[in-house]
């Protein structure tokens, strides 16, 4: 056993020396994740605001101007141009300078005062369906409320009893200001760990294979298992360090809370890192060059990110894709971190996710080690 630990320590020392020697690699493993967290945190905001809108006010009365101003007041729509021709509005829509055209009809005020139906037109650029949807919703809601108000006034003026109305009173748990970053940062963390563990491990091993140094080490008395463990330990530590770094930056810059038990978070991180390192190892046994390793790692990383619920909700995916997310460690890690950080979820809430992570980690590590031993065992013998 002491021989085994001595072997392990030797490999770890060698890996640490090698990683520390190239300052650029260290920079990429530590500073780059931080940088990405900051950029992602600020950039990834799916909230739709400031939709560039052309206002075509054909009525030009105080009433039409008043409604345009009130509609633009909540900043979902922002006026980029005002014209009096619908054709000009359509041209701006086509060139992409505007995403919406709001047309106030020429008889708007007169129709409203005469209690005739007035029709406001909204032209949308549907190439971004989410934005189009939100814009349509905002316009419909605003004029819906205006209609309701006008309807009440008219009924009251006629001396009839007013109709009732429903007011929705939202109570927002966990995130009352509806900020995006506290939800995105844990997801970003899960993605970054794939890059600094899976891809770096896969490429590192492939590089040794390319240069032939792997064979050299394998002919020494060192056991392949210890060699692997020793290679993974430094990246495991870097992964843990990055978690602390990203969460600190998140708490500091983006108000990411920590409401649950940090131990649950730590356990999830350890289990998740076992999975990502295992995948990296598996990829390296399947590829001959660094280029292939990188592409392989990428081919794992991107679907894993897309099918994790980090970027888009799993609920919105078709059923068959939802089934695929069940074998995705990233999904469980993202759910755990978000649960612990934002909702104060406990071990009792998250044990299915943790169990899934453990199962995945153990399976993939075992598979990868077997493959590695079979490949290198043949050469070493």
């Amino acid at each position: 056993m002491s021989r085994a630990s001595a072997q392990l320590a030797a490999v770890v020392r060698k890996e640490v020396c090698q990683t520390l020697r190239d300052r650029r690699v260290l920079f990429l493993l530590v500073v780059a994740p931080l940088l990405q967290t900051v950029v992602f945190g600020y950039a990834v905001d799916f909230d739709i605001r400031r939709v560039p809108t052309v206002v075509v006010d054909l009525d030009r009365t105080s009433l039409s101007r008043q409604h345009v101003r009130a509609l633009l007041a909540d900043a979902t729509l922002s006026r980029t141009a005002a014209t009096t021709s619908i054709a000009e509005g359509e041209r701006l829509l086509e060139s992409g300078d505007a995403a919406a055209v709001l047309v106030m009809p020429s008889s708007f005020e007169a129709d409203v005062l005469a209690q005739r139906a007035a029709t406001v037109q909204v032209l949308l650029d549907g190439s971004d369906p989410t934005r189009a949807n939100v814009t349509a919703g905002v316009a419909a809601r605003y004029f819906g409320e205006v209609s309701q108000q006008l309807g009440r006034e008219r009924v009251e003026r006629a001396g009839l009893p007013p109709p009732g109305s429903i007011e929705l009173a939202p109570r927002l748990r966990y995130n009352p200001r509806l900020l995006s970053p506290p939800y995105m940062v844990p997801g970003i963390l899960a993605m970054l760990l794939i890059v600094v563990t899976t891809i770096v491990t896969a490429m590192g091993l492939s590089r040794e294979r390319e240069q032939g140094t792997l064979e050299q080490v394998l002919v020494t008395p060192i056991r392949p298992l210890w060699l692997l463990a020793g290679k993974m330990v430094p990246f495991f530590c870097i992964g843990l360090f990055d978690v602390l770094l990203v969460l600190t930056a998140g708490a500091w810059l983006f108000e990411v809370p920590l409401r649950g038990n940090p131990l649950v978070l730590a356990l999830a991180t350890v289990l998740y890192l076992l999975s990502t390192l295992g995948v990296g190892l598996l990829i390296s046994t399947l590829s001959r060059t660094q280029q292939q390793s990188y592409l392989g790692g990428f081919l794992f990383a991107l679907p894993a990110v897309l099918l994790s619920g980090v970027v888009t909700p799993i609920r919105s995916m078709p059923r068959w894709l939802q089934v695929l997310t069940l074998v995705n460690p990233l999904r469980y890690f993202a759910e755990t971190t978000r649960g612990v950080l934002l909702k104060g979820a406990s071990f009792g809430d998250l044990w299915p996710q943790l169990a899934a992570l453990a199962l995945f980690g153990a399976t993939i590590l075992a598979l990868a080690t077997l493959r590695f031993q079979r490949e290198s065992g043949g050469k070493a013998a």
């Binding site: 369906p129 939202p170 590089r207 679907p303």
Partner: protein, 368 residues
């Protein structure tokens, strides 16, 4: 001149041999776009769909059932009736439900008497984007479920017309963006990896020792990857058009012009990275940081640019993917001609010229 051309072609031929000798890279480069496109096309949807809501109806009247029916009729919500909010927090923590709609006692009576009735909506707002969508949809339903005076006309109606993508399909939006993203990845990373690899193995110095000029080496190295990139673009467009019915309303020639300009810039960037890094691991990470991330985030591909912080908006001006995505969407979806997309083409051309010049200069200096 002809000799220079011949040498360039020879280098390109050598590079093609490299790629062909290593078919796994080629497969990955061609399969990856298709796999990713299918995944993106199916997985990237922000639509609210069957969000589970708990219904706590404390009134139990005819009108409260009417409101519940308005909610469950929409495909956005699935309602689960319950007596109270017991255990609601636990369901939030376990992602079992997203909210609770609480209809108060006397809801029906108050509504009939013409009062304003408060219906409470408790939401798990951890995911702000989803919470926002639920709020907007729920407000729209509440508004339309409010009783109307009989026989009266709707005072102000809104008529919405959606141009270019009237069915509002996400894939139509995602595919052009994805094309840019995939090209950026393969162009920058494949070149960066291939050339950094030559430096690692020392074969680059051997090339320099020959009589081939620097620019010839650069062009020769870039040409095969340019061809590979164009092939990828064709593949992405073909899959997009057949599987996701993305329209191609404008001219294909214009699309490939834009693609070539964009690729030239991305290849130049990959080259510059490899000259600076000379190590494959560093090159990939630098490539990820400088091309993949900006192409994904600052191009308007998935994340809207309109409400980003000023600094990032300004930064997006030097991200070629932004212009490519804009040009692609304009040509594919709107059938725009050269008169509309020339600013995008010019910007991409400028980027390509600057970056290839930089790479060539840097190439010289490091060798001399």
């Amino acid at each position: 001149m002809i000799a220079a051309l011949a040498r360039t072609v020879a280098i390109a031929g050598k590079e093609v041999l490299h790629v062909r000798r290593d078919p796994r890279t080629l497969y990955l480069a061609l399969i990856m776009p298709v796999v990713l496109l299918l995944l993106f096309g199916y997985a990237v949807s922000f639509d609210l769909d069957h969000a589970p809501l708990r219904l706590i109806d404390q009134d139990g009247s005819e009108s409260s059932r009417l409101l519940a029916r308005a909610f469950s009729r929409s495909t956005e919500f699935d309602l689960f009736p319950a007596r109270d909010d017991e255990g609601l927090e636990r369901e939030f923590r376990r992602n079992r439900t997203l909210g609770a709609l609480i209809v108060p006692r006397d809801y029906g009576r108050d509504l009939c008497r013409g009062r304003r009735v408060r219906v409470e909506l408790v939401l798990d707002a951890a995911d702000a984007a989803t919470a926002n969508q639920i709020l907007a949809k729920a407000e729209a339903i509440a508004l339309s479920a409010s009783p109307r005076p009989e026989g009266a006309i709707t005072p102000v109606e809104v008529r919405v017309r959606t141009r270019y993508n009237p069915e509002e399909r996400s894939a139509v939006f995602v595919v052009p963006g994805l094309a840019a993203y995939l090209l950026a990845i393969s162009a920058v990373l494949l070149t960066a990896l291939a050339i950094a690899g030559e430096w690692e193995r020392g074969s680059m110095e051997q090339l320099f020792a020959s009589s081939v000029g620097r620019l010839e080496i650069i062009l020769g190295k870039l040409l095969p990857y340019l061809a590979l990139g164009m092939l990828q673009l064709l593949l992405v467009l073909a899959v997009g058009a057949t599987v996701f019915e993305v329209p191609i309303r404008g001219s294909l020639l214009l699309i490939f012009c834009a693609g070539a300009l964009f690729l030239a810039g991305m290849l130049g960037q990959g080259l510059l990275i490899s000259v600076l890094a000379r190590n494959q691991l560093v090159a990939t990470q630098a490539g990820t940081l400088s091309s993949m991330l900006p192409s994904l985030l600052l191009s308007g591909m998935v994340v809207p640019l309109d409400n980003m912080p000023r600094v990032l908006q300004w930064l997006s001006n030097v991200v070629p993917a932004r212009y490519f995505v804009h040009a692609l969407r304009a040509v594919l979806l709107k059938g725009a001609g050269p008169s509309l997309v020339w600013p995008d083409l010019a910007a991409m051309a400028a980027f390509a010229v600057v970056i290839v010049t930089l790479a060539t200069l840097r190439f010289r200096r490091t060798v001399a």
